[in-house]
Symmetry: C2
DNA sequence: TAAAAAAAGTTGCTAAAGCAACAGAATTTA
DNA sequence: TAAATTCTGTTGCTTTAGCAACTTTTTTTA
């Protein structure tokens, strides 16, 4: 029964994914940078602010190298890590459509290289230029890559309780590689900010998960012992 | 200081929104239905399943009339209301990109009329047909309308504590109309499922909010007394 | 490489949220 | 319109998570 369900799931997954054309973000970025004068590439050092969403509207950014956080500080001063970007990820207000007056910051987690351009550009651009065509055709795929991340995050935050949040996140990380061992992409302090939970309570729960033989942990290397 | 911040915010908001072309979903739906044989319109009675995401991949649906819920049941059997669609909203797996084996259901909250078509369709379609062009041009706007909803939800779920979740949600509802009075779009039972909190605990918190003179409540009519 | 800063790991106490189990009101269905 | 069902409102008890305040370890930086 379990096996049939899994096979069915895999079948749909494969079919679904085959139907989706593969979109190469690096080719797209190269195309953009060489064909259009309205794009720019900038470099950032660790901890610098790459962009903010309230002020920089309609902006589309592609992370060419490095890692970055999308961060908000809530009314009580708590840091919330909303999203975590790695090389080839797309971000910018064009994909967030901010509607509150609480600013969102993109912070360089490591040294970064970022390509900037504007969503509104497709309107202003000469209709015969090849860039225009590329942009319009690629936009859905760019946005979809963000939509997947957003839905993943909603799924995480929908979990009741710290244990469920941790296990859900761990199984997402585990599913991205072969085997049940993976490396946490950020510090435990940041993990708590990402899951919107108290760090001390999280540590306590991780301890329990180890005691219950559900996970093994060596630094940032974690192994899921159950399925 | 407060006033300056608000004025600045409003200014950016207006500028941002002016730059965004207005997209009429009803015209789009009409265009689609009349120009393409691959689309279909179906009617549903209250509580019927409109579609599921795991099986119906790459599907795009437009709610022509009525209201619907996007629902998941978690591992403990809890009902989670992931999203709430009203007339003109766009949904379907094409916008969710399901990646777990937990099925998502779209349920008719009232009688509904829904337009169905496929995201993959743009690939198969004859390149000269006007529908193809319309679809490709409109897709980003269709998706953006979902992205806004997703981000709103993440903002809600990022709140620590029931009181914060309630107040955030209430202020979103209040901001959608003039004045501070609004009507809850669903029952209190469903509201708890939407905010992923215990209903009894939520009722207790609502009572406290009334006692603290932060809200007034008459049935589903709520007034925010503070800003 | 020594000092400083950040992250990891702990703990006791307190506050908040979940659960169960009701009763009464409102709504739906037969 | 009567019966059934769902929704609202409430409460006591229990479990969970948050907070504050530490120590120890690891990583940065001067």
């Amino acid at each position: 029964m379990q096996t049939v369900a899994l096979a069915t799931f895999l079948c749909y997954t494969l079919l679904g994914d085959l139907m989706r054309k593969s979109f190469n973000i690096q080719d797209f970025a190269k195309d953009l940078a060489t064909h259009c004068s309205q794009t720019q590439i900038r470099k950032f050092k660790k901890d610098e602010v790459i962009t903010t969403y309230l002020i920089n509207r309609n902006q589309i950014c592609i992370l060419l190298s490095g890692e970055a956080y999308l961060v908000r500080y809530d009314s009580k001063g708590f840091k919330n890590i909303i999203d975590c970007f790695k090389t080839d990820d797309v971000f910018g207000e064009a994909f967030y459509r901010i509607h509150t007056n609480r600013e969102l910051f993109v912070l360089a987690k490591t040294d970064c290289e970022v390509l900037f351009f504007s969503y509104a550009m497709q309107e202003l651009c000469d209709k015969n230029c090849s860039f225009h065509e590329t942009l319009v055709k690629s936009l859905p795929d760019l946005i979809f890559s963000r939509v997947i991340a957003l839905n993943t995050r909603i799924e995480l935050l929908s979990k009741r309780g710290i244990r469920d949040k941790l296990l859900s996140y761990f199984s997402i990380l585990a599913s991205q590689r072969i085997g049940n061992t993976f490396e946490l992409p950020f510090s435990l302090t940041d993990l708590a900010d990402y899951l919107i939970i108290d760090r001390a309570a999280m540590m306590r729960e991780i301890k329990k998960l180890k005691e219950d033989k559900i996970i093994e942990k060596n630094g940032k290397k974690i192994t899921l012992l159950c399925k």
